[in-house]
């Protein structure tokens, strides 16, 4: 599989800590699931480390659906990373 970009969206305090609302990234090809993606993002700098350090708290959605750590990611996906929701 060739490396192709993934669209990342960040919300609420995840966005505040990373300092970006969205970005396009091309992770190494061995990054194939949500857990690996989060682990890789954490290596991208102290802001990412601060935002994602508690990866049991952070929630992930792939193409607007809640995802689990073991769920596969694919090039072209829209992947959102955010805190537990607090609407209603």
């Amino acid at each position: 599989m060739t490396a192709a970009p993934i669209k990342l969206l960040y919300f609420a305090w995840v966005r505040d800590r990373i300092g970006l609302a969205e970005e396009s990234v091309t992770p190494p090809t061995e990054i194939t699931d949500v857990a690996a993606l989060i682990a890789w993002l954490k290596t991208r700098g102290p802001r990412y480390e601060a935002a994602l350090k508690n990866d049991r708290v952070v929630r992930v959605a792939i193409n607007q659906r809640f995802a689990k750590p073991e769920d596969a990611i694919s090039p072209g996906d829209e992947i959102a990373v955010f805190p537990p929701v607090t609407g209603g």
Partner: protein, 155 residues
């Protein structure tokens, strides 16, 4: 059956009127309105800003509503969720359920609120006189949503 995500306020009377007009199979309407409180953790709130993930919010609310329709006999339902900067006393969310009988309307209304609290991608940020902070998710909200899962399993 409808869901709306909007910045604007809503009129409860107008929404119930529009939902029930001409539908004479409806015998009962239940509604829930969530408001911005003026206090949190002993501190006075100046404003509350609701952020959301638009594409996912629309989809999750529609799914939650479809789930309610499957579980209960509903003639009509509506979810309206606001986003943006709100003041204490402002309306945040509206859920309306209409059914032939009150039991279905009451239960579906509570289910919709419990589920959207834990499933719909909205985040609240509170502004006090001294600080701005993101509201933390509450375990009691997860428990309230879980209850419906276990009830389903026990059926």
């Amino acid at each position: 059956m409808a869901v709306r995500v909007q910045a604007e306020d809503f009129s409860i009377e107008a929404e119930i009127g529009a939902l029930t007009r001409g539908r004479t199979t409806i015998g009962g309407v239940a509604s829930f309105i969530g408001l911005v409180r003026d206090m949190a953790g002993g501190e006075s709130i100046r404003s509350m800003t609701l952020e959301h993930y638009p594409a996912m919010a629309d989809q999750m609310l529609a799914e939650i509503e479809a789930e309610a329709k499957q579980r209960w006999s509903l003639d009509a339902s509506l979810i309206v969720h606001r986003y943006g900067r709100l003041k204490p006393g402002d309306r945040i969310v509206l859920v309306i359920t209409a059914s032939a009988h009150r039991g279905d309307a009451f239960e579906a209304c509570q289910f919709l609120m419990d589920w959207l609290k834990t499933q719909a991608p909205f985040w609240k940020k509170e502004e006090t006189s001294t600080a701005t902070r993101w509201v933390e998710a509450r375990a009691s909200d997860d428990d309230a949503a879980e209850r419906w899962l276990s009830e389903k399993t026990n059926e």
